[in-house]
């Protein structure tokens, strides 16, 4: 074999292994969400858990803490969480509370909860009350950051006060002052991460697609457990040679409805012949599309107030317009709304979303946490037949 060819194939092989090893590492971190926290803690640094996409993670990074977004664990049982929250709450929140009480997240130095949905608020109240009335139960100190979303200047003022309050709480927990320069550096890093996530999400929209929806979901999830600089480094490696990744195939579907804190449902859908080219929940595209305008408390307040529109907090009209635009931008051929049991917001959104998107659309509602009923899977898979040869 001529020497030149050998050199070329060696380079190709190395590029492939770089992109795919970055993907493998990200996927592993999505599955073992506390692995990075263990290393961080071993270096004597604080780890702070958070619930919901409305928590300004920049403040956690600026405080020198590792922000770890808490996810539930479908199939692991939620008996403890059910006891305190009742059966009427979104099972994802019941699962998170169960894992917190079971010590699955290790020794957290604090817990910041946003009011991104009613279930998160209820989770916070339960933690606060359990710490008060059942001190034998081991739970970290908890803080509620009340980010609101009506498009009013008065709301911004309020959210800004909540950002300042969270900053003060973090300073108490970590025993160190958050300097403006720390905040600026953290904002810059998290914005860079958002930009990279946007670029990576594009890879599943190209033809041929270079990533599945399942892979993108795992990548996003990994970046909510890793130190931000480590996430940036892995995403840069992944994004440098996308053409070395295997092609992904399937009927191009835009996913709306409930959020997904694990890849189970995506994997089931993609096994059934769909390709999730985009979504509008905050474990996916909705998490990273908006940047911070300036690295200040006000800049953070505006970013988190206006980020969205999420199903539990946005109006039907704003949500329908967003879903239709995003589905178009993703060049989706169909719309699928997956709604988990006890997640009521999306049910009210669906009629307007279907009308605005003007695509073949299916709603599967009252689904179990982390899975689909056989009937729901069949009706989602039915979209591939409706689409016929389009893909």
């Amino acid at each position: 074999m001529p020497a030149a060819t050998t050199a070329t194939s060696a380079r190709t092989a190395s590029r492939e292994s770089t992109a795919s090893s970055a993907l493998a590492q990200l996927t592993a971190h999505a599955a073992d969400r506390m692995a990075a926290a263990g290393e961080w803690r071993a270096e004597g640094r604080p780890v702070i858990g958070y619930v919901g996409a409305d928590v300004p993670v920049e403040l956690l990074t600026a405080a020198g803490a590792l922000p770890v977004r808490l996810a539930g664990s479908p199939g692991a049982g939620t008996a403890t969480g059910d006891r305190y929250l009742g059966h009427g709450v979104d099972p994802a929140a019941r699962s998170v509370l169960t894992r917190l009480l079971d010590g699955d997240y290790g020794d957290l130095d604090g817990l910041v909860v946003s009011r991104d949905c009613e279930a998160s608020a209820r989770l916070f109240y339960a933690v606060r009350e359990l710490r008060r009335v059942e001190p034998a139960v081991r739970l970290p100190p908890a803080h509620l950051v009340d980010v609101l979303h009506l498009p009013h200047r008065s709301t911004t003022r309020y959210v800004r006060a909540k950002v300042a309050q969270m900053r003060a709480t973090l300073e108490t927990w970590t025993g160190r002052t958050i300097a403006d320069a720390d905040l600026a550096a953290a904002v810059e890093a998290h914005d860079r991460l958002r930009q990279l996530l946007g670029e990576v999400a594009e890879l599943r929209r190209e033809r041929p697609a270079r990533l599945t929806g399942t892979a993108v979901l795992a990548i996003v999830a990994a970046t909510t457990t890793l130190p931000v600089r480590r996430s940036i480094e892995l995403l840069e490696r992944l994004h440098a040679h996308p053409d070395t990744l295997p092609e992904a195939d399937g009927a191009r579907v835009f996913l709306t409805g409930s959020g997904h804190d694990t890849t189970d449902v995506y994997a089931a859908l993609e096994d059934a012949g769909l390709l999730v080219v985009g979504e509008d929940h905050d474990w996916g595209d909705l998490l990273f599309h908006r940047r911070v305008r300036e690295p200040t408390e006000l800049g953070l307040a505006e970013r988190y107030q206006y980020n969205g529109p999420s199903a539990p907090r946005a109006s039907i009209r704003r949500r329908a317009a967003h879903t239709a635009d995003a589905a178009r931008a993703c060049r989706a051929d169909a719309l699928l709304s997956y709604v988990r049991d006890h997640d009521d917001g999306p049910l009210w959104d669906f009629p307007a979303q279907r009308a605005a998107a003007d695509l073949p659309a299916v709603l599967v509602d009252r689904q179990p946490y982390g899975s689909l009923t056989a009937e729901a899977l069949a009706s989602a898979a039915g979209l591939t037949n409706q689409l016929g040869g389009i893909r």
Partner: protein
């Protein structure tokens, strides 16, 4: 003597007449608002804009047996019929093909719907209203606090700034300013500060009467009235608060209860157990509350409607708009957020000397664990009943009755 309170009957008669007159006013072009219970009604009152409370209408529809019809109309339009039923029944009634057949001649079409952005779905019900030509939804923020004031019921009348929190009040005042400007611009009605002060003063007077009534009932043995009388006796005037009629109705209700207490009149001839009802009214089965008087000598002496009127509404001093913001900003905390709610239910249970609590736990996000826990920790037997308060599909009446009867026999009776 009829054991129905004449003040409760008078309130219901007034409400009927008022509602009939409302149809005329709306037909003549008056603005009309449909509002959630936890919104600043006093602003509409001040501006002379008539309003109906969404949850009151749902309770009427349910008591008249029309709930399933209206939920069905929502379902036909692709909306869920198993989510936020209490908030969405009025919306369903909008789609009634035969509005004349609706209870009380039907709900007029509102020009304004007003609600806080609580929960994940309840604001969406109002978004659907907003799609109707001629109807505007004005959403109000619903803020929450990280920390909790102990014994809020002692702070609320005068130290509400402390109880609710300044950030939250700053935000709510801005929301009210925006609402007033919106109403001035769209209805042409005046917001007179002098009138507003009168409205606020009348509302406080009314709640002072409710407070006296609550305290009378707490001390009275035997219990002088049934819950099914106390609910209309308090709530009809509550929906008219800020008027002299409502203030006087609250006083008349008080005086009648006081007279019964003085005579030693009881609603249950053989009163043995005093019970507390925690949760929203069981509108699809109002007879439920009296069933256990006949079988067990058990009388419900408490429901949240009178008690929250007594403890949750009084706001004195300060700028009246800020006082109003403080009245509605923490409503759901007072009733549904631990420890605000849990400690209050315990305080009320002790105040009324109850022998047991029936706690209605619906299949929604509010949950009930901490309330039940707090009551049990105070040594009070609690029965958790699982049902939706307006959707009878969620529970079988006979099963509910049996459950309560068994609990009275097995848990309450042995302890008293």
């Amino acid at each position: 003597m009829s054991d129905r309170l004449s003040s409760a009957e008078a309130a219901l008669a007034y409400q009927r007449q008022w509602f009939a007159d409302l149809h005329g006013a709306v037909a003549d072009g008056a603005p009309f608002a449909l509002v959630n219970a936890d919104t600043p009604h006093e602003i509409l009152r001040t501006m002379g804009i008539p309003y109906v409370v969404n949850q009151w209408w749902a309770s009427i529809v349910t008591a008249k047996g029309r709930t399933q019809d209206y939920l069905g109309l929502l379902r036909e339009r692709g909306y869920p019929d198993h989510s936020e039923q209490y908030s969405s029944i009025a919306l369903g009634s909008l789609f009634d093909p035969d509005p004349g057949s609706a209870p009380w001649g039907g709900l007029p079409r509102p020009s304004l719907v007003l609600a806080e952005t609580t929960g994940d779905a309840s604001r969406k019900v109002f978004d659907v209203w907003d799609e109707e030509p001629g109807t505007t939804f004005y959403p109000l923020e619903s803020a929450a606090r990280d920390d909790v004031p102990p014994r809020w019921w002692e702070l609320m009348p005068r130290r509400w700034e402390e109880a609710v929190g300044s950030d939250r009040l700053d935000l709510m005042v801005e929301e009210l300013v925006g609402l007033i400007r919106f109403l001035e611009a769209t209805t042409g009605r005046e917001f007179l500060e002098t009138r507003f002060r009168e409205v606020m003063a009348l509302a406080n007077e009314q709640q002072e009467w409710n407070r006296r009534t609550r305290d009378l009932i707490a001390r009275a043995r035997p219990c002088p009235l049934s819950v099914t009388d106390s609910i209309p006796g308090v709530m009809v005037p509550q929906w008219h608060r800020g008027t002299t009629w409502a203030r006087d109705a609250a006083r008349a209700f008080h005086d009648e209860v006081a007279a019964r207490v003085a005579e030693g009149t009881g609603v249950c001839p053989d009163e043995r157990y005093r019970l507390m009802w925690v949760g929203r009214g069981l509108w699809f089965d109002l007879d439920f509350y009296r069933r256990f008087q006949r079988t067990h000598g058990a009388v419900f002496v408490w429901s949240m409607y009178l008690a929250i009127a007594a403890d949750g509404y009084l706001r004195y001093g300060g700028d009246p708009l800020r006082a109003l913001a403080a009245r509605f900003a923490a409503f759901s905390d007072q009733l549904y957020t631990p420890p605000w709610s849990a400690e209050w239910y315990v305080k009320e249970a002790r105040h009324h000397g109850v022998d047991g609590v029936v706690h209605l736990v619906s299949d929604d996000a509010r949950g009930g664990y901490f309330t039940t826990r707090a009551l049990r920790a105070a040594g009070i037997p609690v029965l958790e009943l699982r049902a939706d308060n307006v959707d009878a599909r969620s529970a079988d009446k006979d099963a509910l009755t049996r459950t309560v009867g068994d609990w009275l026999d097995n848990e309450v009776a042995p302890r008293t």
